[in-house]
């Protein structure tokens, strides 16, 4: 899966911020502890003409999820 790779500063600017009435940014770390955000097509529509519109122009890169421990162990 591809997503938008963020700097730590960008992540701090986005995390938890609402960009629509009931949608907020949720950023997650990949296997290298780099931050990513994933946007659906609907999310991108909401970002138009906002301070976050720059995200729609970002080139996506491959996201490799972190290895999670077995939650049932």
């Amino acid at each position: 899966m591809n997503g938008i790779k963020l700097t730590t500063i960008q992540k701090e600017q986005l995390q938890g911020v609402y960009f629509a009435e009931n949608i907020f940014f949720n950023c997650v770390q990949d296997i290298n502890n780099d931050w990513f955000v994933f946007l659906s097509e609907e999310d991108k529509l909401y970002l138009r003409n906002t301070e976050f519109e720059w995200l729609n122009s970002e080139i996506e890169s491959e996201y490799v999820p972190p290895i999670l421990e077995n939650p049932f162990a």
């Binding site: 899966m1 997503g3 960009f19 629509a20 009435e21 009931n22 949608i23 907020f24 940014f25 949720n26 950023c27 997650v28 990513f36 955000v37 994933f38 946007l39 659906s40 097509e41 609907e42 999310d43 996201y63 999820p65 999670l68 939650p71 049932f72």
Partner: protein, 272 residues
């Protein structure tokens, strides 16, 4: 016993559409909150509501998200009370007429429902209509608080840990689980009675006595709210087309709920 037979003069009817359909008060309120005008959707909701009422299930529901309308705004509303427990979506959900799809990497929805505040100890449950086949690692709905009080369910996590119920107690599995779609209900009605139903059929029961409390953390959809790990985690990539959070229900009520929900989905041509 399941039954539907109300027409004009339905309980609490307050709106009559141009089509002649008389909407219940609850359907009217949902229509007004969401702005949905599609007659097929409104008819389906109205039929669902009348069925919940006639089967005594409406009073069991704390929240019911019918996931209709095709966008995040409309999908966010709680049919039982549109001004209460509106979903907050993270980025990454895909919404369509078939439901809401989590991305399995970052997407989750916060119901705003904290079990210890809103639900009844040893009598509560989660029902979720899953349209995605196959194994998907992740938790579909629930919470685990810092005291490890469980309140969650997961569907077909993998072959070793398929569909599991952890409603205010230790998780127990539906060991014959393989490809569970449709309405799945995770439920507890006593400290030593917990059941899982799939499409109205009981598939797993636990009689292990639980001494756990209700989880003190908001119920998430599409991931689990695991406070020890900082919140949303174990994201799940499934499509859901109805979610309900309710008081504990029995076998007959679970079967009736499934009948109603399946008819609802069929009328919207998105049944599985």
């Amino acid at each position: 016993m399941y039954g539907v037979g109300f027409g004009i003069g339905a309980i609490g009817a307050t709106t009559i559409l141009n089509s002649g359909l008389a909407l219940s008060a609850r359907t009217t309120a949902f229509k007004n909150a969401t702005g949905i005008t599609d007659v097929t959707i409104l008819n389906a909701l109205n039929t669902l509501d009348l069925g919940l009422i006639s089967n005594g299930l409406d009073t069991k529901m704390k929240a019911l998200y019918p996931v209709v309308g095709g966008d995040s705004a409309k999908h966010s509303y709680n049919f039982m009370n549109p001004s209460q427990y509106q979903l907050s979506f993270s980025s990454g959900w895909t919404h369509s007429s078939n439901g809401m799809s989590a991305n399995g990497s970052s997407a989750y929805a916060d119901t705003g429902i904290n079990p210890i505040v809103a639900l009844t100890s040893m009598s509560s449950g989660l029902s979720i209509y899953n349209r995605t086949t196959g194994y998907k690692t992740g938790f579909d709905i629930g919470a685990i608080d810092s005291s490890n009080n469980n309140f969650y369910g997961h569907i077909n996590y993998n072959a070793t840990y398929p569909t599991g119920n952890a409603i205010q107690g230790d998780r127990f599995l539906y060991t014959s689980s393989s490809n569970d779609v449709g309405l799945i209900t995770f439920n507890r009605t006593a400290n030593n009675v917990a059941n899982t139903w799939i499409k109205g059929t009981k598939v797993a029961t636990s009689t292990v006595t639980s001494t756990s409390g209700l989880s003190n953390a908001n119920i998430y959809i599409g991931a689990i709210n695991w406070t020890t790990f900082g919140g949303a985690s174990y994201f799940c990539a499934r499509q859901y087309s109805l979610v309900a959070i309710h008081n504990g229900i029995n076998d007959a009520q679970a079967a009736n709920l499934n009948t109603l929900v399946q008819a609802f989905q069929t009328s919207l041509s998105r049944q599985v």
